[in-house]
Amino acid sequence: MYGVNSMNEKATTQELWGKLFTMRSVEEYLDKTGESRFPLFSEYITALCDAKGENEESVIKRGNIESSYGHRLFKGTRNPSRDTVIQLAFGLELDSAGAQQLLKVARVTALHPRVKRDAVIAYCLYHHKDFMETQELLYKNNLPTIGGGRSE
């Protein structure tokens, strides 16, 4: 759609990708908390929430998650889908590396450079765009929006 790419352009994009898809290790979190086992998702988001000094409600709201469902995620009585984890990443205002870590703790697939939709999401997280801006960019690029059907 943007024509044939030269090798040079590809190299620059590679660099950008490098930044967008970096994963912060979960060990970093474990070191900080002194825990030795892989954290449960609910524990992990609660800890992130506490570290930010925020309450659950505002995180849930910012991630555009239905309220009662959101609280169940914090309680650990529901397992999130991958899109919901991404919504929580926006809610917690994580950068792309933080979102990758969150996806790992939730045991769902990471944002991947070979997936165009993931690239837009990683870009938006990296540049601290909010959830609605991200949805708009996905929609504009004819990519499925987060947590919903496909944008047409």
């Binding site: 352009e9 991947h112 070979r114 939709r117 801006e133 499925p144």
Partner: protein, 454 residues
Amino acid sequence: MNDDILKEILSAYDDADYPEEFSSKYDIMECLSDQNGILTFLVQDHEGTRYVAKCFEKQFPEKAVGNGILTELSHKGLPKYIASYENDEMTVTVREYIEGKSLDRYASEQDISQQETVDICMQLCDILAFLHHRDKPVIHRDIKPQNIIVRSDGSIALIDFDIAREYSNGNDTDTVFFGTRNYAPPEQYGFSQTDARTDIYSLGILLRFLLTGSTKENSSIKVYRPLENIIKKCTGFSPKDRFSDVRQVKKALEKANPKVQKIRAAVIAAAAVAGIVLLIFAGIKIYRHVTDSPFSEDKIPAYITDEEQTREAVKYMKNKYDTDIFNDDTSIADVGDLRRAMIELYGLDRDYVYGINEDMPQENDAYFLPWGWDDKQTLDKEIAVYAAVKVHDPSVVADWSSLKDDNGYYPGVRVAVAFAEEKGILTGINRPGDITLGDMAIILANTDRVFENR
């Protein structure tokens, strides 16, 4: 907002890389794996239904070895083939996405009971039997928990045929190593060509992993012995030491099934109670009968084969016959072991032992084991008893009828088992069906003693 950078990033994604029809039908949602040069995506059609798409670049045709295989296979334990798309650079194959959890995650999130482990492995046996018993057998070659999906109803499916291949005679070795190290048998490192027994090896490792949490043998974790024996027989270094057919593995699992064993234990307990009641009513007669048996009078059959008794029987056989047949007393005995014992220990004629009654598989004076089994078949308790009794006194099991009875056994075998039960020959052998070499030693030693006392 200034999103030039984003434009630049997106420019790297050219939809024309993928076949046009594929791009127009599906959105790529997640990258499930990027391995061996094959990209696997979770995709979604416009109705929101999810599928798995595998992308093979045409410049590396050897990468697509497993690709054609699943298109023609239809089984509820395998992802359904949907369609293929291609352009000049790429072939994309779309298959059913199986909702569920991978077995490694499933196992890490809850304790899987021994019962469930056996159920899962038996289901896997069915899927593998379907693959192995085709005209052109398909060998999966990468059986591991990550490639097994557990659906919410407990049924399983086997995925990822990237490195599967159709078995062909003539290739002596596999030249390229694929597979997953802990689960791959020696021949997959190039010792010889992989066949069905490659998958059987991995199945054994999987069974060990589900029972112990580790793919490596760990002597500090006790595995229920009948299952341990199955693991051993699945994972022999040389393919010829393993089960040759996954259906045998299923049969062995069925017999080792803890549920079946529990029922059996209950039956044995009930029989013991009944025995005590009988003792009260028919004291002296029963006492005489019991003293006729080679066992201490007060011994009620134990649920698990008594290791001491095995050791004692093996010692007895070794002293009497100077034989090494029973050295590895915990491994599953096969028909060949029994034949060898009959020839070497009891001096039977080889032709008599190996002769097959071609006309009709019935008990017959001319043939010792009239059924024509392969030496590598696992040995049933009943057949061991039949041979043990017949070698001492063929008249006990003489030609009763050419027909199978309702229990699926030949009448001579039924008579032998009844005789053995009456004489206490089977005391300590509580495993139904397949037995170990130790069990075989017990049966032979006990039968010897019964006939010595006669």
